[in-house]
Symmetry: C2
């Protein structure tokens, strides 16, 4: 049973930040209530069509049978319903022929698809990433042949970076693309960990492949980007023969079993250059940014599903006398089960709110110049939310007690599914290096300081309310911002000793994520108190976040200041 | 590949605490070098016989086939080798006919068996618990018939508490034992989550069952303890017919697949009372204490195995230029991979040292009166080490990057296996309630304060060394002890508002565990510096623990002081 968190999105769209969705929407007419309606519809669709397939996807998984990838019954039909419901094109930008929903609304959809069925949602998540890359870089011919089919959802897209000897280090990529007389390229090499790399759910698959060309410079600067379809496309747009890319095997993974993770062999596969020769990395980063923000939504989604399962169990399971109360009660009333549930709920709200906030920064970037801050939040959202999702899904098991360890309960699946998130689309270390190197040290902490100033203004606004939650949270945030400033100064001071900076870059990322979560709760508390309410679940989770999550900022600041332990 | 951490145990036995193993040993002759030799032998045996069976145990698991529990090939033979090698009786107390190895040595064995094969090791871990319970409570007849067979390892033991409607709340147990004319009892009821509840590895299984008797008081005070063999035992000691206990099913679990977790149905099963009528809980707690300390060793063991796998991968995998160094190198040289490895290693040392320290307190309890402190550490060791093991095994996956998510790599198994530890033998909440209710609030923090005084003396000794690691760690420990004192005072202040205390009891437990780990590193640093060494891996991990783990104490103290969030 899954129910989309529509109330939270209504609150985020209408109250929490003063979002101006109308100004962001393609037709200039989408207001908060319209956006909430879309969330409601997506939630209903996800609950009825996608969520019921999650467990069978986990138990049966994707299988390679006689060279063909098979998914459990229902997946192909559900994908078709996604397409026919217009959900794929809804998220694609208007410039690419999609509906161009604001990113702030896509944040909700991203969460919902991943709550319902994270392994399945990866198929269109990577399609969306490729749509962004092709929209930014591809020629008209490629747009016409491939982009339109990706936007309609008829075909799906993949992202081919990793090779056996080139994971985090893309410069080591060896797949070779050789120019052909007809202007196409011939690709040869092996790619691994290709998410939804092969399947029969859509009629064609478009691989976006990072490869080296003859005489290209060494390292990452010598890489170019190619579109390589599974089936070649005839001049009239119909599908031709199989291209020279074959599926060697599927990985046997800890989680997301229904997502076929393929080893692909390219052997004379026909490809088409996207963007500039040797400009592959830039094109891939467009896709990467979209996918990384999407990981923040996935982290929220898997966490939310784990929370709903735990909450449902805890409110139905009766056991034992409750400390400090008369008589028996559901275990959700036991102090430590309540602690676990509040910890999950308050952290998930923080992720969700930061996801919408970051998405809105991207929506506004073109006109308001919020792009720098948006880019700043990408590694934070991806790194922090996916790391915290491990704790949330672990807490989800703990709420169930012994039942949580039994696979049939379902809590364990979320724990297993979540574990890939801090790894793919760039490990947490990669996110933190991006944050620390490119976004903090390079401008001597200027963006971070601008953020702390904005947070300080929120604290001032919060302090104006005569309410104990406001008082406590304002005090805790003030101290947390101080700690964050000290940590930032320490990091900037490590500019000349980069090992010190990179040895504590993950703790610094976690610090900023945790602090930003507290900021999101402060904004929520202000909105609630502004409405004249003095009790609200939103105030409770804000208070809880302040006393259980926010204090970690101080511990992390001490760790950051220490630099590398020699 | 597994290698027992013999050097750490040599250090712990000979240098870290000034342990007097000779005084504790049964024959008064076991010195530190003898103890280390035993560890070395156990390590060799575990590496060659038990460790190779771990992965097949995970992939094939225990299966119920036509009413019989089957384990993969090799398990029965390996168990026989355990017995023939004398490893089961080595750990049993001399009073029960075992070798009576000191608990400080059993700590090492417990870790090693669990590193090699955690699912398998549970079989004799629970046997050892039952041995302790029967040694303390059973009649001569039961000792002669059952205890001797358990001590020799010919039979294994189980612990039957949980029922479908009675998990954490033992007072809800409904299994009924009815007295029979011959002095035996007839048991009827259902027990779930029975670890190694059925198997063919040993020729008989002795169930220790908590059950209610007719006209017994309601709740936990009405429970009695019974020995119920799988096969009835004839007067001459030979095995008779199957008793009335049958295996309904085995659980399909997230991890420890080779450990058969059974649902048992008792239907007129013949049982024998152990100890006093209605004194079941006291008897069970003897077993429970042993099992809980054993969980600390299991947490260390699974963590160590995850660490060895990660270290091996990271030192063999070459990738990318290393920040701040010239040229390529193994990924273990990358700052964040090094951070992960040091985090794992320093935390594992802390668990291992606290395990030996606690075990030695039990060894000394009879003569030195250290029993109170030993009991104080039981919930801390069980709760903190098992929770931290989740982080350590998660970090083990992260070190592997994408490969960590692939089951064949083996890292994922440790992550899955570890997840049960904070649940069974009493959840972390149960441990923390025991700690906070019985061991802190009841004596107004007196035991905790005595511990802080002892830690303060260590800080004074550490401060005497003119070495940057000593200076830093002494400063950090001083501040951490201050925070712990404030948290303890806050908890004691919650005596009249128990929900405040129990809403933050887990954070308080984690605080004391983290702080105790820092204390263990301080003792190690003193021993190293005392030997005149100025560089040592032990100093590096002590320094790392101080800057990455210990600062969490302050965050947790702030959480504890806040009490329940209303």
């Amino acid at each position: 049973m899954y129910t989309a968190p529509v109330d939270d999105y209504r609150f985020l769209y209408s109250r929490a930040f003063g979002l101006d969705l109308i100004a962001r929407s393609t037709d200039g007419a989408l207001n908060a209530e319209d956006a909430t309606d879309i969330v409601q519809h997506a939630g209903d669709f996800a609950a009825s069509v996608l969520a019921p397939l999650s467990r069978i996807g986990d138990t049966e998984g994707a299988r390679l049978v006689d060279g063909t990838v098979q998914l459990p019954d229902g997946y192909a039909e559900a994908y078709r319903e996604m397409v026919e419901g217009g959900w794929i094109s809804a998220e694609a930008p208007a410039s690419a022929g999609g509906d161009g929903l604001p990113d702030a609304v896509r944040a909700a959809l991203g969460e919902i698809w991943n709550s319902a069925n994270a392994a399945f949602a990866l198929s269109w998540l990577l399609t969306q990433g490729q749509i962004h890359a092709l929209d930014a870089k591809a020629s008209d011919a490629i747009r016409e042949t491939y982009l339109t089919k990706l936007v309609s959802g008829e075909w799906t897209g993949t992202m081919n970076l990793t090779e056996p000897e080139a994971g985090t280090d893309l410069g080591a990529i060896r797949t070779m693309a050789t120019p052909q007389p007809d202007g196409s390229w011939s690709l040869k090499g092996d790619k691994i960990f290709i998410t939804w790399g092969d399947h029969e759910v859509a009629e064609n698959i478009v691989h976006l492949v990072l490869a080296r060309t003859p005489d290209a410079p060494e390292g990452a600067r010598g890489l170019s980007l190619f579109v390589v379809p599974k089936y070649l496309v005839n001049a009239d747009g119909t599908l031709g023969t199989r291209n020279g890319v074959s599926t060697v095997s599927l990985e046997h993974k800890l989680g997301i079993h229904a997502s076929p993770t393929a080893v692909l062999n390219y052997d004379g596969a026909v490809g088409y250059l996207v963007g500039d020769l040797h400009g592959g990395l830039a094109g891939m980063f467009v896709m990467m940014n979209s996918a990384r923000v999407g990981m923040g939504f996935q982290a929220t989604g898997i966490s939310e599903r784990a929370y709903q399962g735990a909450l449902q169990y805890a409110t139905q399971r009766l056991q034992g006398p409750v400390i400090g109360r008369d008589g028996g009660a559901p275990i959700s009333e036991h102090p430590d089960v309540r602690r676990l549930l509040l910890s999950m709920r308050s952290d998930i709200y923080a992720m969700r709110a930061l996801g919408v906030y970051t998405a809105d920064l991207f929506d506004r970037a073109a006109e308001d110049g919020t792009g720098e801050l948006a880019e700043f939040f990408v590694p934070i959202l991806k790194g922090w939310a996916t790391e915290d999702a491990l704790i949330v899904t672990s807490d989800g098991i703990q709420v169930h007690g012994g039942m949580g360890f039994i696979e049939e309960t379902g809590a364990a699946q979320h724990y297993r599914d979540a574990r890939i998130m801090p790894i793919y689309e760039g490990t947490t270390a990669i996110q933190s290096n991006d944050l620390v190197g490119r976004k903090v040290i390079r401008n001597q902490g200027a963006t971070a300081e601008a953020l702390f100033v904005a947070m300080g203004e929120t604290v001032t606004a919060l302090s104006a309310f005569d309410h104990p939650v406001a008082t406590r949270l304002a005090d805790r945030l003030t101290r947390a911002i101080d700690s964050a400033r000290r940590a930032t100064a320490a990091l900037v001071g490590f500019a000349a000793s980069p090992r010190d900076a990179y040895a504590v870059s993950v703790p610094y990322l976690m610090l900023l994520g945790t602090l930003s979560g507290g900021w999101m709760h402060a904004l929520a508390a202000i909105a609630v108190l502004d409405d004249g309410k003095t009790t609200s679940e939103r105030l409770t989770i804000a208070d809880f976040y302040g006393s259980h999550h926010l204090p970690r900022v101080h511990a992390l600041a001490e760790t950051v200041a220490a630099g590398e332990v020699a």
